[in-house]
Symmetry: C2
Subunit: 258 residues, 2 copies
């Protein structure tokens, strides 16, 4: 087996995501951030290459941050930046970078837009603790900010809050060549198209070709997905795919989607 290789491309920007929270690992909370962030980053030209879900455990969070921040352009985290004792992400990030963490006057100022002095309790102030050297990421929903330190972007776990933070930080990020996609949905099991697709992959080495089975109404079907940075090349591969589907007699069960 040859591993799939992306074409060499200095304009490719990559990211990893660390989802932090016991509640995801126990199944109590269904993660809604991985899919959202994956689509978002793909759309702006950042390629998500790995996701890790870890519990609220200090050494596991620090290990994940340090394992990923050297090998990707960006590392995003979600979760663990609230006011309670189990919110340890900011402290872990500070430890991973070896910098101090303390209540940040800029973060307090943002929170004072929402809260009176008397409502700035110790617990709320905990959400203003930011590792030294970080830039803040504002959040219009609940005011307590996320932050970005070097290439690590720390966001809330609540999806609506994470989403406004992502919108806020995105313009500061470098982005690369977008990966474009063409999908053909075929109401046939993928094994029927497998030899043709493998042959097509050999003809178009710079187009990633994926085959994703689905199971609906008791039948197996397949989404054939082509991905490439170069749209001209992608459309040439798509045309060749349709020729292959016609040759195999399954074109009448196929349709382009998305």
């Amino acid at each position: 087996m040859e591993p799939k290789q992306l074409p060499q491309d200095r304009d490719i920007v990559t990211a990893a995501l660390i989802v932090i929270g016991d509640e995801i690992l126990s199944g109590r909370t269904l993660d809604k951030n991985i899919g959202f962030i994956a689509r978002y980053l793909t759309a702006i030209g950042i390629r998500l290459r790995e996701v890790r879900v870890v519990g609220d455990i200090e050494n596991e969070i620090i290990t994940a941050i340090n394992a990923l921040r050297g090998s990707h352009d960006y590392v995003f985290t979600t979760g663990g930046i609230g006011p309670t004792h189990d919110d340890i992400t900011a402290d872990c990030v500070a430890k991973a970078f070896g910098v101090p963490i303390d209540i940040d006057a800029r973060a307090v100022a943002l929170m004072r837009e929402r809260y009176d002095e008397k409502d700035m309790t110790q617990s709320r102030l905990r959400m203003a603790r930011i590792p030294r050297g970080a830039e803040l990421i504002e959040n219009s929903v609940s005011k307590a900010p996320g932050f970005m330190i070097e290439n690590v972007i720390v966001m809330a776990g609540v999806p609506k809050i994470m989403q406004v933070m992502l919108d806020n930080v995105a313009p500061r990020l470098k982005t690369g060549r977008k990966l474009h996609t063409r999908t053909v949905r075929v109401e046939r099991p993928e094994s029927e198209m497998a030899p043709g697709l493998a042959e097509l992959q050999q003809q178009f080495l710079d187009v990633q070709m994926g085959s994703y089975p689905y199971f609906e109404k008791g039948r197996l079907g397949t989404n054939l997905v082509l991905r490439a940075s170069d749209e001209g090349l992608l459309d040439a591969a798509l045309k060749a795919l349709w020729e292959m589907l016609k040759a195999q007699g399954v074109a009448d069960r196929a349709q382009s989607v998305e």
Copy 2:
């Protein structure tokens, strides 16, 4: 910050999950397996400690398998065992274990229950390739089996097929003490309960206490979650939590859920 520690317990059985597929990382396919597997394992007494999502890239899959199989009782994988050129999971598992992989007569026999000799194409036979030494995991939906080699359990990515494989393999797994859960939903921001909860955590060191904010209808609320193996201890902690909520004057906005 002290990292949260589970009580020492030799009866705890742990697992990691590797979700394999470019389509999850690009956001084209929304993962539905992480949440299902997390809930399932929790219910049978296996604690999911880490999840990794990796692309269809050989060295990344092998690295993840070898990183996790030594540190957890079980490693589950989903995805990449279909008939197409991008399905490389079985080969990667064989390489991770340093064993040969070939068409397996038992797997062929299972598939022949569904397919005639003439329908056992090269592509379908690809799904019968199993690393030497693995036990098969049957699948009534599409017949092509998953497998278990030592402590690594390899399943399909299509949710319905993964689910029947999980049902099939579960009785073979050792399970440990279940982690029981009590949840109280409070229609107040978590910062209001944070000091009381932190104090309660100090009183009940063997009960994990988590605070999970939610955002609904424009308001922040909180799920307070207590987890422990010992249900007597858990209910004592739950009682103390309700006392705390009464003392803070938020009991009328709280309800036990699940």
